[in-house]
């Protein structure tokens, strides 16, 4: 992830009021993750799997924080059960930021299956999402998604692809 994209994500998170970040360390977001980990604006809770991350964010939101979960592409599958048993069942908001590995143009063969799982899974989970491919679109997409997740009381995702995760 290039500096311009990282700056845009952090800008969007701050403009949208996000003050709590949970994440599972991941290569695609590693520069971003290091940035938010060292930014005092955010309460930072790294977790050992994404299911735990959903639970942590639920507890944080219920306690007055504005959390976002940075989810590796494959980790969305790990998060699926708590997104169902907690976020869907309790109607809880959650901003999900997901690098869209396996999108068209991603040449790594191992990422291919995530084209088959990522968007269909978000649809099954009744989670609205935007796919963002330009750095200039990142910040507003995050602000919009955060506003929607709070109003709708259900998770909303931003998938980052193209130049945004180069």
């Amino acid at each position: 992830m290039e500096a311009a994209a990282v700056d845009a994500v952090v800008d969007g998170l701050k403009k949208s009021g996000v003050d709590f970040i949970s994440l599972m360390p991941d290569s695609d977001f590693s520069v971003l993750q290091a940035r938010v980990a060292n930014d005092q604006h955010f309460t930072y809770v790294p977790v050992s799997n994404e299911a735990i991350g959903v639970g942590v964010c639920a507890g944080a939101w219920l306690s007055g924080k504005r959390p976002a979960l940075l989810v590796p592409t494959s980790g969305l599958l790990e998060a699926a059960w708590p997104l169902t048993s907690l976020c869907m069942a309790w109607s809880l908001p959650l901003l999900l930021l997901i690098p869209y590995r396996g999108d068209i143009g991603d040449a790594f063969w191992l990422m291919g299956p995530y084209k088959d799982t990522t968007e269909p899974l978000l649809k099954v989970l009744n989670t609205p999402y935007r796919v963002i491919s330009k750095n200039e679109e990142i910040s507003k997409a995050i602000v919009d998604a955060q506003g929607s997740t709070i109003s709708w009381q259900r998770p909303v995702a931003v998938l980052l692809t193209g130049e945004t995760i180069k």
Binding site: S22, V45, V47, V56, G59, A60, S63, K65, A89, W90
Partner: protein
């Protein structure tokens, strides 16, 4: 040792403002009967009691947080213990009511009926204050110690399977639990949680 007797002992020593996060199943029904309160976050599903408790405790570090976990719930996401330990929490008592079974799911044995030792696992994860109790008196002493001393306390209470008769039915679902708990936090912390937006951003 009966789980209900442990919970009764704990309920008698809690400050009304103590936040309690509980495992789904009989623990929630028993706790609701003993300590009905909007400071309870009841019925947290498998694998998530410790995770939700972690989110609450990190967000409200000045508030006493008690987690009433189950062995099956915790076993599903054991890594929660490592993630909890790394936050260096100072006002957390994490109780596992370990009946060595999935009581709410039919009663088959859990891994703690075999070789798994949750207190040892917790210590290995970095939670130094981890103990096992087998009597209600021991439980009461451990819980009192955890509430009175800063730190992150982990108590495994070895309990029998089975609940008590005539527990009140738990009538709230997750959505009502959300509103009640969030409104309670709003009123006690002076924060705004539930505020729908009315305008385009």
């Amino acid at each position: 040792m009966k789980r209900f007797d442990c919970l009764k002992s704990l309920a008698a020593m809690l400050d009304p403002k103590t936040i309690v996060v509980t495992n789904i199943g009989p623990i929630s029904r028993e706790w609701n009967a003993l300590r009905p309160s909007d400071a309870n976050l009841l019925q947290v599903n498998l694998g998530l009691c410790a995770a939700v408790g972690l989110g609450v405790a990190v967000s409200l570090p000045h508030r006493q947080v008690v987690m009433l976990d189950g062995d099956g719930n915790l076993l599903l996401n054991l890594a929660s213990l490592a993630d909890l330990a790394n936050q260096n929490l100072t006002k957390v008592v994490h109780v596992v009511l370990d009946n060595e079974s999935y009581e709410g799911g039919g009663g088959l044995k859990s891994a703690t009926a075999g070789k798994a030792d949750l207190a040892a696992i917790a210590r290995g994860a970095g939670i130094a204050n981890a103990t096992v109790v087998t009597t209600v008196d021991e439980f009461g002493i451990a819980a009192r110690h955890g509430l009175d001393h800063p730190g992150h306390h982990f108590i495994v209470a070895k309990v029998e399977k089975g609940s008590v008769a005539k527990l009140p039915t738990l009538t709230l679902d997750g959505k009502e639990a959300k509103y009640r708990f969030a409104r309670y936090i709003e009123s006690t912390e002076g924060v705004e949680i539930l505020r729908p937006r009315y305008t385009h951003i």
